[in-house]
Symmetry: C2
Subunit: 687 residues, 2 copies
Amino acid sequence: MVTNNRNIAMAQKGVLIFLAIMLILNCCGQVNNTFNLMPVPAGLKANTNRVRITNQFRLSIIGPADSRIYADASRFVRRLSNKTGIFLDKQGYIIRKDTNISAQLLVRVERPGRLRLGEDESYSIETGASQVVVTATTDLGAIHALETLLQLVSTDADGYYFPGVLIHDTPRFAWRGLLLDVALHFMPVDVVKRTLDGMATVKMNVLHLHLCNDQGFRVESKIFPRLQELASDGLYYTQEEIRGIVKYASQRGIRVVPEFVVPAHTTAILTAYPEFASVKRNYHLQRYFGVFDPVMDPTNEKLYPFLEKLFGEMSALFPDQYFHIGGDENTGKDWENTPHIKAFMKARGMNSTADLQTYFNRRLLPIIKKCGKTMVGWDEIFQPGLPKEIVIESWRGNESFYNSIKSGHPSVLAYGYYIDLIQPASYHYLNDPIPDSVTLTDDERKLDLGGEATMWSEMVTPVTVDSRIWPRTAAIAERLWSPKAVNDVDDMYRRLDMVSLQLESLGLQHISYKPPLMRQLANSWDTRALEVLVSVLEPLKIYERNEGDTMYNVFSPFTKIADVATPDQKVPRIFNRQVAEFLSKPSPKMEKEISKKLILWKENDAQFKLLLNNSPVLLEAALLSENLSLLAAAGLEAIQFIHDHEKSGSDWLQESLAVVNKAKLQGGRCEIQVVDAIQRLIQRAAD
Amino acid sequence: MVTNNRNIAMAQKGVLIFLAIMLILNCCGQVNNTFNLMPVPAGLKANTNRVRITNQFRLSIIGPADSRIYADASRFVRRLSNKTGIFLDKQGYIIRKDTNISAQLLVRVERPGRLRLGEDESYSIETGASQVVVTATTDLGAIHALETLLQLVSTDADGYYFPGVLIHDTPRFAWRGLLLDVALHFMPVDVVKRTLDGMATVKMNVLHLHLCNDQGFRVESKIFPRLQELASDGLYYTQEEIRGIVKYASQRGIRVVPEFVVPAHTTAILTAYPEFASVKRNYHLQRYFGVFDPVMDPTNEKLYPFLEKLFGEMSALFPDQYFHIGGDENTGKDWENTPHIKAFMKARGMNSTADLQTYFNRRLLPIIKKCGKTMVGWDEIFQPGLPKEIVIESWRGNESFYNSIKSGHPSVLAYGYYIDLIQPASYHYLNDPIPDSVTLTDDERKLDLGGEATMWSEMVTPVTVDSRIWPRTAAIAERLWSPKAVNDVDDMYRRLDMVSLQLESLGLQHISYKPPLMRQLANSWDTRALEVLVSVLEPLKIYERNEGDTMYNVFSPFTKIADVATPDQKVPRIFNRQVAEFLSKPSPKMEKEISKKLILWKENDAQFKLLLNNSPVLLEAALLSENLSLLAAAGLEAIQFIHDHEKSGSDWLQESLAVVNKAKLQGGRCEIQVVDAIQRLIQRAAD
């Protein structure tokens, strides 16, 4: 305990010195030169030094760091070698005795970092004439510094170098998380590990694993083996694998927060142990996605010893302080329709099933505490009477988030960071956890822990999941790390493009999964026409994809055009910007750029149709392709009118708007993303 | 034992009936219609039936099969759904009670297959009017049938269907292996699993895991934990992971044969347990690749109890009958230079270190037998006095292979299947285990077990390894499965192209790893110029890559142009064929085709040079790009001469040949693959 207090005191002292330096660096406004850094550091000044990277490069760590920094530093050297092609084999693994104060990269650490909420993660980087020096209170900060350095690597005619910088950096929020749902669609260990690699690159520090739901229970239990035997389809992590994931995360400075949802969303648990259900039914794993009635019976006294044993076993696998119990989306129907539960509620004066759930949560709290953990739940559990020590994760709105803070709960914001909903990075980026409209007292500010991107996995598989997480999550990571004033969307996208490439160098497949899937879709090596079409498509947003005739389930093919289309596509983003620019100030250059694309889209349909012979799976996109072609043709005509300074007739306008309306229809669960821009061209032609 | 004998009798009866049917199908010559099947079945007749694949599709298994077929059939349905985009969610997991004799796909199995050498793997497929019926003696045959069916899926205007076929198929050789070396470069579990997926697709049935070498010991030992603690760099499989790999393989009908090399190539074991070395040294893991002197001391009586315990523990992890003890590349120096070993040899009248190694092997044999295993070793151990029951794997030449067979050893051919040496698929394909020049008696034929592609991992990483294994290994798989008469190289390449796409649908990254690596190399999203250059390059062949200034080791970057270049490139293969065709019969069409490519290559260098600014790692290929440009320019001039029916002057010829010679130089450990063809154009222009 003495050590801890001392560490905290040292950390606080560090933060104070740090803030003073940042003021000197004038870091509290927008940083001028952001290089390709993401997240942008709190304070950065460039200078003219260059520390060249040659095969003589050495890295040395000074000070009593945790062993994780040695693993991470070794990994850093390999990544640097892989990026530059330079044989850095002077150092295989960086080890403690390998101290060399004249190393090209010197990392000074004051004390071992502890992987816990609020730990000091700050660091400084200073490029001298021939040496880069990293200074950090803890190895957790040093790990962030190494990521910054990899993003800084620059080139000139003489080769690779670290550019001259003076950086003082520290995160704005302490909880910068990503929820990975491995329950609805299971994600194998290698997916989890590469996700952790990506998170570390953008300095995220919490992996929230959603480990069970109606579709499966995903962790081996040695006490209750029926969970994995009857309720996982064989898709679960062994305890050894969980320990491996936790270790892998720890080496990257990332905490792992497990979530075991109770009392609803428990069809899987009830499939294995139906005796804990509110209603007697023949329980089977749920194959569809949604909100279902099965729920545990909180009046069953045997439930609590069961949960105590289960959570005792599970929480021991996860060293983190926090333990998430879900608590969301309880329909309450199975409680209301069960006489003994109704009687129980009545006897205790409960007015609603929400009251009963609060009762359940109050029973749960001592169990979680007995495990030595702090309880976290979704904002449904935020009800009057809920003990204040419970952390609330808000998904139902910013309002709900501030209410929970203002009522004294430490809170984490998920709302606005639902990356499964296919919204653009800019939307998430501008979702500030403390917008200007909100005022928090200092004490309330302390309760605002940060936020979490949430990757729910109804509509993703191990093949496509990276493309739904990355690169957009990097924008969320920056929102949670960088100063509030860093909010230039264009600069964010510029850097996101570079970080996206860096992420794929780590093995993330958000870009590279596309060509194989397109070859499979086209049933051919030649996918050009499909690529052109897909480049302007995005999957239906929010929850629309799962509406209509065919309900998706765990056995559905996620190998179709909506799966190869990605959120926040670059081609339409650039095209839409070009059209806006053209409409505000027509220029021959922009006219040519826009026309080139319109011609490509117009002519693509004939090529796309050729694919259909070999590839019936693409038929669902045939109309989409045709509509894109007609739309582009109308756009070209509009450009011609504008070029000629002629006003189109109203017949043409009506016809063209009919084309636009058709082009707004979905096909293959996708939408064309250039409709609005072309519509604007058409309107202008008629003005 | 009774069951086994009965099974063998049944299998033999099955084979006889089978051979009779194949004679009726006239299958012993070249099969006429090979569809896109690889390997080509032993007997195939097409008919006009079409069994359509709709969302009503069902698969049913009849008969007492091993449970593995249910897992494989469930996987089959998911793969079929992923390929066609059809929601086949009527069946999630195929289960035993799910018998429906009117299912669209009916699989009849006579008895559970046992995963052992020589087990019946035959199957038949018959497409009726509305049902496909698979018949197999064992589920192992049925698994092969399902792979054949996936390759048969066809399309027309109405959608997807299984075409009309009558297939009777059985393998030519019983041992159709792939050696995966996970010692020199460790390969994570997911690499092993996707390799198994690929193997199953082309009906290979032995994964030979090379599990230790000088660079590391890759399996957790609970008895000798120093092996993984001191001699693996943390890169090893836990026993749980090994069991997972074995199970995954078994579900695909694949045996796993482990190899633990002794007595040489044991630097890793000696790092952990130096007391077993012949020479007292400070042993460390070897970081370079090659043949080294460290070797166990066969005169140390404590060595044998150690090996008995170690191999007892290891062999228990691998249920297969065979256990490979390596035995290769012992320099013998550490034996010759050690007095007590010399004395030991002299006292026993041994003339050479080979004799001492035979002594060691004779000591080893009872240990391996006590483990219940059959011993396998590389052909160095094939020495006079070696017990005949030991299986020899030949890597030093076909001669050595036939000698080993003729001297009575069951033998497996690896020579000619060294896929790490970057030779074309055609070379491996035409390396028949029993060429026309060799005559084997019936008894000798029984000793010819088959062959193994060998993926040694000096020069590959988990990122690049797929591109060295696939698709070429599919050609070897066909050589080992299909009748000898199936040897049309052009048809092989046609089908290899399709199988290559099928393999990537399984998650193999032999194609898709390239764009990310090129983006990293180019340090840019725009990799067109790099793609054009790489498309005509292959890495240096045989062992040339590791010669010259820089010796590769385990820490080297394998992220360079030689890593993104792949063996047996398609662009040069097609270009070279076109040039041959053009030279034998000039035509305007071919002239145009060839010129188009030459212009592309000529003009590419200017674009490639632009990449260098951002990407010093590409500098090593700058001369290569320039040489390709000059070579293409000379080729275009040659085409012009030929077009004009003019004879070039001898000055031009000399200049052009100088260009050709420069273009033969390596750059970035790669060679241009179109030099010879362009040289022939130049020669023709001067004729």
